[in-house]
C-alpha cells in the first residue's frame, strides 16, 4: 500500500479533527445524563412574567409579550441556537458558555475552515454509488491527489458509504435537524449532543476532501498551520 504525502496529510488532519470531542467527552463525562425536558414547571420564570405584566397599559398587550408559553418557547429557542451555534463546536461556546456546564471543546478551532468549506460545497457534492469495501477506507483515503479528483474514489465516499448514497445529502440534513429538534426539548443536552458528532464529522471530512481536491497548495499550507494549532488543544484535553 503506497500512501502519498497528500493522502497522509489528509488522514492526519481528519484524525486530529475528529478525535478531540470523543477524548474530551471521555475525560469529562460525569455519568449524568438527564432526560428532563424544558417543559418542567418553572416557578422563577412565571414570577418574572407576573412582575412584568403590570408594566403594560392593558392586559391584551401584556399577554402578547408576557405569557407562560413564552417561557418554554424561550428555552426551546435558546437550546436550538446553542445547538446550531458554530462556536459551540469549535470554541466551546466562547464567548458566552452555558453557566454550570462543562462546555467542552469538540473540534479543533481551525477545523471551522473545513466545516465552512464543507457546508458551502454541500450542495455541489455529486456522489456516485460507493465501490465495495475491498481495499479499506484508508487505502482509498491515501491514494493521492490525483485519485482524489475522481468523484468515485473521493475520501468522503469511502468514509461514509451508504450515508452519501443517492439522496444522502438530505438524509444528513434531516438527521441533523431531527437530532437538534429532539435535543432542543431537553433541559440539559450537554453529553447527548455527541449525537451530532457524526453529521458534523461528515461535513468536516467533506471540507477536507474538497479543499484538498480544489486548492491543494492552500490545503497543504493550511493543514500545517492546523496541525500546529491543534496539538495544543489535544494536549490540553489531558490536563486537568
Amino acid at each position: 500500500m503506497i500512501v502519498s504525502p497528500m493522502g497522509s496529510l489528509k488522514i492526519l488532519v481528519i484524525v486530529l479533527c475528529l478525535i478531540l470531542w470523543p477524548i474530551n467527552l471521555y475525560q469529562n463525562f460525569d455519568g449524568k445524563i438527564s432526560f428532563t425536558t424544558i417543559f418542567a414547571n418553572d416557578y422563577q420564570g412565571e414570577q418574572l412574567i407576573l412582575r412584568n405584566i403590570h408594566l403594560y397599559p392593558n392586559v391584551l398587550s401584556a399577554r402578547i409579550f408576557q405569557n407562560k408559553a413564552r417561557i418554554y418557547l424561550n428555552k426551546l429557542t435558546d437550546n436550538f441556537f446553542i445547538l446550531t451555534d458554530p462556536n459551540n463546536y469549535f470554541f466551546a461556546l466562547h464567548p458566552e458558555p452555558v453557566p454550570g456546564q462543562y462546555n467542552i471543546f469538540k473540534f479543533p478551532f481551525l477545523s471551522i475552515v473545513f466545516f465552512l468549506f464543507g457546508i458551502l460545497n454541500f450542495e455541489k457534492y455529486r456522489h456516485k454509488a460507493p465501490q465495495p469495501y475491498g481495499r479499506g477506507i484508508f487505502s482509498h483515503a491515501s491514494s493521492g491527489a490525483k485519485s482524489l479528483r475522481s468523484e468515485n474514489t473521493s475520501l468522503i465516499s469511502r468514509l461514509t458509504p451508504g450515508v452519501f448514497a443517492k439522496g444522502d445529502k438530505k438524509a444528513v440534513l434531516f438527521a441533523s435537524l431531527f437530532i437538534i429538534a429532539v435535543l432542543s426539548m431537553l433541559k440539559n443536552f450537554e453529553w447527548l449532543n455527541f449525537l451530532l458528532w457524526l453529521p458534523i464529522s461528515i461535513i468536516i471530512i467533506r471540507g477536507v476532501d474538497g479543499l484538498a481536491k480544489n486548492y491543494p497548495k492552500f490545503f497543504s499550507f493550511f493543514s500545517l498551520l492546523f496541525i500546529v494549532f491543534s496539538l495544543p488543544e489535544l494536549i490540553r484535553a489531558f490536563i486537568k
Binding site: 412584568n52 408594566l55 403594560y56 398587550s61 402578547i64 409579550f65 429557542t77 435558546d78 441556537f81 446553542i82 446550531t84 451555534d85 458554530p86 462556536n87 469549535f90 470554541f91 466562547h94 464567548p95 458566552e96 478551532f109 481551525l110 471551522i112 458551502l120 450542495e123 494549532f229 496539538l231 495544543p232 494536549i235 490540553r236 490536563i239
Partner: protein, 555 residues
C-alpha cells in the same frame, strides 16, 4: 416600480424610522449615562469657553474620564445647545439625526449596486425597524454618526465611478468617519484599501485621476489633526486597554493558571490562546445565537427581551446567506455585502467583550441586506396569485408585531429593568441639591462610579468656574499624561469617596447610592435622611443625608 411610488415608499420608511427613534427621545432611556453627560458637558464647555473642562482648546480627542472620546459627536452637540438647551434630548439628537439619514443612504447604495428597487426598499425598511440600529439612534453613541459618514463615503465612491467629482465627497466622508468612532480607525482604511485594489483601473484613469488626488489631499487635510495625535498614549488609550492581545489586565481566555510544566509555552502560549480567542469572538458576530437570541450582553447596548434582530428574520437570514453564495448575478452588491461582512467585526473581535454591538455596528448593514435578500427571493418564489395576495397582510402583520415588540422592550421593559444601567436618578438628585442649604458642603460618593459629569451637566455649571476649580493636567500634557484626579469640585459640591470617620465630624450633606449610604449607616451614625431617589422598581437609587456631628456619631 414607478419612480414616485419608490420615493413614496422611501418617505414612508423614513417616517417609520423617525417614529421609532424620535418617540420619547431624551426621555427613554430615562437616565443619562455618565458618558452621555460627559460628552454633553464637554460640548457645553466648548460652547462657553472654547475649551473643554480640562482647559484644552478645541481638543482632537476629548480626555473626559481619561478614556479619550472621539471628537466629532461632541462638536455636533455644541451648536445644538443654544437651540435645545443642555439636555438629554440635545446630546442624543445627533445620534437620532444621523441614524435617520442612514436609511436613505442605505437605500441608494442597495439600489445603485443591485439595480433592484424592491430589494433597496426591503433593506431600508428593515433598517428603519432594526432594534440594533434603533438603540444607537435613541442614545448618545458616536458609532451611529460614524456609520452614516462611512456609508456616505461608500455611496459617493460608487457614484464617483460615473461622476468623478463625487470622489471628493467620498474622501471627505471617509475622513470624517475615521475620527468619528474608534472602530472606524480599522474599518474605513481596510474598506478603502479593498475598494482601491478592486477598482484601481477605473479610479486611476485619466478622467478620474485629478478628482481622486483632490479627494486624497482634502481627506488628508481633514485627518491631519487626528494624525498629529495618533501616536499619543491618549489616542491609543482605548485600544491598549481593551484589546485581547494585551495581557496586562487579564490573561487570555483558556489560560490554565495551575499548569507550570514544560509544555507551558505550547498549551498556554498566547500565540495559540489569543488566536483562538480572536476567532471565537469574530465568528460570534455571524452566529444566529447572538443575532436572534442573546444579543449584546451590555445593559445599555441592548433592550430587554429583544436581540439585535427579530426572531422572525432568522429563516430569511439563512436563506439569504445561501443565496449570497449561490447567486451569481448579484454583482457589486455581493462584493459590498461580503466586504462589510468580513471587515465590520474585526474591531469588535480584537476587544475582549463578547458580541459588542457598538463596536460592530457597521455589521448591521450587510446582515440586514442578507435578510432582505432572503425576503426578496422568498416573495419572488411565490408563483401563484394567492401567495402574492397574502404578502401585503403578512407584511403589515409582521411590521406591526415588530413595532409592538419594540415598544414593549424599548419603552416599557427597558425603563423598568435597565434604569440603573442608564444612571437614572441624577437629574432628581441635582434638583434636590438645589433645595439644600448652600452654605454647607456636599460630598457625592464616587467610590464605584463617577458622578461629576451628571452633576455639572444638570446644574449647567459654569465651565469657566469648573476649569478654575479643577486641575488634572497641564494643557501640553493633555494627550500624554494619563494620570487622573478623581476628586472633582463643583462649587460647594465635591465628588469623592465618603470617609466616614472624617466626614462625620463636620456638618455637611452626603450623597451616595444604597451601598454607600445604607439604612444601618444612617441609624448607627445618627444621620438625617433628607431624601431618597428611587428607581422605577421602587428600589433606592440614591440617598441624601445630613451629618449631625454634635450627636456623638463621630466618636
Amino acid at each position: 416600480m414607478k419612480k414616485y411610488a419608490t420615493y413614496l415608499f422611501l418617505a414612508l420608511i423614513i417616517a417609520i424610522g423617525i417614529a421609532t427613534r424620535f418617540y420619547k427621545l431624551g426621555e427613554a432611556p430615562a437616565g443619562l449615562y455618565v458618558d452621555e453627560a460627559g460628552q454633553g458637558y464637554s460640548a457645553y464647555s466648548i460652547l462657553k469657553t472654547g475649551k473643554d473642562e480640562f482647559e484644552k482648546s478645541f481638543p482632537i480627542v476629548f480626555r473626559s474620564l481619561t478614556d479619550f472620546k472621539t471628537p466629532v459627536y461632541i462638536y455636533l452637540v455644541t451648536p445644538l445647545i443654544p437651540f435645545f438647551g443642555l439636555s438629554a434630548f440635545t446630546v442624543r439628537f445627533p445620534s437620532f439625526l444621523f441614524s435617520i439619514l442612514t436609511i436613505p443612504v442605505l437605500f441608494f447604495i442597495t439600489q445603485h449596486l443591485s439595480k433592484n428597487v424592491s430589494l433597496a426598499i426591503i433593506g431600508s425598511l428593515l433598517l428603519a425597524i432594526s432594534p440594533w440600529h434603533i438603540l444607537f439612534g435613541r442614545t448618545n453613541f458616536e458609532c451611529n454618526v460614524a456609520l452614516f459618514f462611512y456609508l456616505l463615503g461608500v455611496l459617493s465612491f460608487y457614484l464617483g465611478l460615473k461622476n468623478p467629482k463625487l470622489f471628493i465627497l467620498s474622501a471627505v466622508s471617509f475622513a470624517i468617519a475615521i475620527p468619528s468612532y474608534h472602530s472606524q480607525r480599522i474599518v474605513t482604511p481596510l474598506t478603502l484599501m479593498v475598494l482601491f485594489i478592486r477598482y484601481k483601473d477605473l479610479i486611476f484613469d485619466k478622467t478620474r485621476k485629478k478628482y481622486i488626488f483632490a479627494g486624497i489631499i482634502l481627506g488628508a487635510l481633514i485627518l491631519l489633526p487626528t494624525l498629529s495625535v495618533a501616536t499619543t498614549p491618549g489616542f491609543l488609550a482605548r485600544a491598549a486597554g481593551l484589546n485581547i492581545f494585551s495581557h496586562i489586565r487579564q490573561m487570555p481566555d483558556g489560560f490554565i493558571a495551575s499548569y507550570h510544566g514544560i509544555l507551558n509555552p505550547v498549551i498556554n502560549g498566547s500565540w495559540f490562546l489569543s488566536t483562538r480567542e480572536f476567532l471565537s469572538l469574530y465568528f460570534s458576530y455571524f452566529s444566529p445565537r447572538y443575532m436572534f437570541f442573546l444579543g449584546d450582553y451590555g445593559a445599555r447596548s441592548s433592550f430587554p427581551e429583544l436581540s439585535t434582530f427579530f426572531l422572525w428574520q432568522f429563516p430569511f437570514y439563512i436563506y439569504g446567506l445561501f443565496l449570497l453564495f449561490k447567486k451569481k448575478n448579484l454583482g457589486n452588491l455581493k462584493f459590498f455585502i461580503v466586504l462589510m461582512l468580513l471587515i465590520s467585526p474585526i474591531p469588535a473581535a480584537v476587544t475582549r467583550d463578547p458580541y459588542t454591538t457598538i463596536r460592530a455596528l457597521p455589521l448591521v448593514v450587510p446582515q440586514i441586506l442578507i435578510v432582505s435578500l432572503g425576503i426578496f427571493e422568498f416573495i419572488n418564489s411565490l408563483k401563484n396569485r394567492t401567495g402574492y395576495l397574502l404578502i401585503a397582510p403578512a407584511s403589515v402583520l409582521i411590521i406591526s408585531y415588530s413595532l409592538a415588540k419594540l415598544y414593549s422592550s424599548v419603552i416599557i421593559l427597558n425603563e423598568y429593568h435597565r434604569a440603573k444601567a442608564w444612571d437614572f436618578g441624577w437629574q432628581e438628585v441635582v434638583q434636590k441639591i438645589q433645595t439644600l442649604d448652600q452654605k454647607l458642603p456636599i460630598v457625592v460618593d464616587n467610590a464605584r462610579a463617577d458622578a461629576y459629569p451628571q452633576i455639572a451637566f444638570y446644574l449647567k455649571y459654569d465651565p469657566g468656574k469648573f476649569q478654575s476649580e479643577n486641575f488634572e493636567v497641564k494643557p501640553e500634557e493633555y494627550y500624554t499624561n494619563l494620570n487622573r484626579v478623581k476628586d472633582k469640585h463643583i462649587g460647594n459640591i465635591t465628588t469623592r469617596p465618603i470617609f466616614w470617620k472624617e466626614d462625620l465630624t463636620k456638618e455637611q450633606y452626603l450623597i451616595g447610592d444604597e451601598l454607600a449610604i445604607s439604612i444601618q449607616q444612617i441609624e448607627v451614625n445618627h444621620l438625617t435622611l433628607i431624601s431618597e431617589v428611587l428607581y422605577p422598581d421602587r428600589s433606592v437609587a440614591y440617598r441624601i443625608v445630613k451629618t449631625n456631628p454634635l450627636s456623638g456619631s463621630a466618636k
